[in-house]
């Protein structure tokens, strides 16, 4: 079972390291595609979450949600993946 807060913390940690100009207090409402605009960064983001959450994330499973959803919605998706409901 993965905690939603832990997912958001892992995301914030990634942004602190890689996108220090992003206001981390408001990431839940931000669209992923507004922040991550390079495929290498996108993959780094997914690998960071895998490592921090101990979860295998299939980019194909998340698919276009990686660019159409907000980080808050992505956190919900990852919680669902972690609980095995996806």
């Amino acid at each position: 079972m993965i905690d939603r807060i832990a997912v958001l913390e892992a995301m914030k940690e990634f942004f602190a390291e890689n996108f220090p100009n992003i206001p981390r207090d408001h990431i839940e409402a931000m669209k992923a595609s507004d922040v991550i605009q390079q495929s290498l960064d996108l993959v780094e983001f997914v690998l960071h979450l895998e490592e921090k959450l101990g979860l295998e994330i299939n980019i194909n499973t998340l698919g276009e949600k990686l660019i159409t959803k907000t980080f808050g919605e992505l956190a919900d998706e990852l919680v669902a993946i972690g609980s095995g409901s996806q």
């Binding site: 495929s39 980019i59 698919g63 276009e64």
Partner: protein
């Protein structure tokens, strides 16, 4: 008996297209695509994901690559691409021709089959270097590992074959099916780029040559993972179990790395087939490679995308050009079969 890669020929062929240019072309095409709006929107978001960031590819099907229609147009696109690629490789060879003629020419492609074959077409362009008695043969259906498996094959030929030329052409754009809404089809269209390359293998060393070491290949149980499907009028890209594709590929490659006993060798330069950035970064982690060691593969992927089996030769050419005498060089490729191949050599 030692064998050496004496030269790699890696011309760039076709029209250079950025992700944004691809996205614009696909966006216009989607207006004509017969599908309901929700399906089109979802598919276009998927395409946007695949085309995120700065990446280019070369396209030999021309500006109207999304209008290819019917068997005849697909086959004609393949034929034109092979003509363009054999000419480009022949021109590079003639610019600095080997002193001895080739004893064999192997043509490699996974996208099409036409007669005359790639080997014969190449031979016809190099009559002074490829005699009438030289062995000329095409190898098909090797996928992204075809070029390195062809090198493995040549390395095992008898000593009678002193100079062998392998010519690889992968005009992947000729497989695109613009009428299909299948995601595998669009994943292929957005991931691949067209490419060609040649490699001269000799039993004599030369300036800047790569002495071939251990070459190995492995086939796992993912026979269905990557395949050519077929649509209304031609073959098209296909993969099994799209949802699980990536993790199954990763699993197969990691299993192969154990079987092939790939060692962490930090001083070696690595060429890794750019099947995808996720896979590249995962493999680098497993091999204990720093990010900088991935740069030749990553920069090739950004500049040319995945050229199927031509990619690894382009990356190797780049690495060889920068290598110092005595430098160990390694390569790793993976693709349909599911095959994983590894190779090693030392820059002379």
């Amino acid at each position: 008996m030692s064998r050496y890669i004496r030269a790699i020929y890696a011309p760039l062929v076709g029209l250079r297209l950025s992700n944004q240019e691809m996205l614009d072309a696909i966006s216009s095409w989607f207006e004509k695509l017969e599908a309901d709006d929700a399906e089109k929107t979802s598919l276009f978001d998927f395409v946007r994901l695949l085309l995120i960031g700065n990446r280019h590819r070369y396209n030999q099907a021309g500006e109207k690559f999304l209008s290819i229609d019917g068997f005849a147009e697909h086959a004609a696109a393949f034929s034109r691409a092979v003509e363009e690629s054999t000419s480009a490789i022949a021109a590079e060879i003639l610019a600095e021709p080997p002193q001895q003629p080739f004893d064999a020419v192997l043509g490699v492609s996974s996208e099409g089959l036409l007669l005359p074959g790639i080997a014969e077409l190449t031979a016809a362009k190099l009559p002074n270097l490829i005699g009438q008695t030289a062995m000329q043969m095409d190898l098909g259906n090797g996928g992204c590992t075809a070029s390195v498996r062809a090198i493995q094959l040549v390395n095992n030929l008898s000593a009678d074959f002193r100079n062998v030329l392998i010519v690889v052409m992968e005009p992947t754009s000729t497989l695109l099916d613009p009428k299909s809404t299948d995601r595998s089809n669009w994943q292929g269209i957005c991931t691949f780029g067209d490419g060609c390359a040649g490699v001269w293998i000799s039993n004599e060393p030369g300036e800047g040559a790569l002495e071939l070491g251990k070459l190995r290949s492995w086939r796992g149980d993912g026979i269905d993972l990557i395949r050519w499907d077929w649509g209304s009028d031609y073959y098209r890209f296909g993969i099994a179990e799209r949802e699980q594709f990536e993790s199954r590929v990763r699993g197969q490659v990691l299993e192969a790395m154990n079987v092939l006993q790939l060692e962490k060798e930090p001083e070696a330069s690595w060429a890794i087939h750019p099947a995808g950035i996720m896979l590249l970064l995962s493999l680098a982690k497993k091999l204990g490679l720093p990010r900088v060691a991935l740069e030749p593969s990553l920069s090739h992927f950004k500049a040319c995308s995945n050229m199927s089996s031509a990619s690894i030769l382009h990356i190797l050419k780049n690495i060889l050009g920068c290598a110092k005498p005595g430098q160990p060089i390694r390569w790793l490729s993976m693709g349909a079969g599911f095959h994983v191949t590894s190779g090693s050599g030392i820059r002379v």
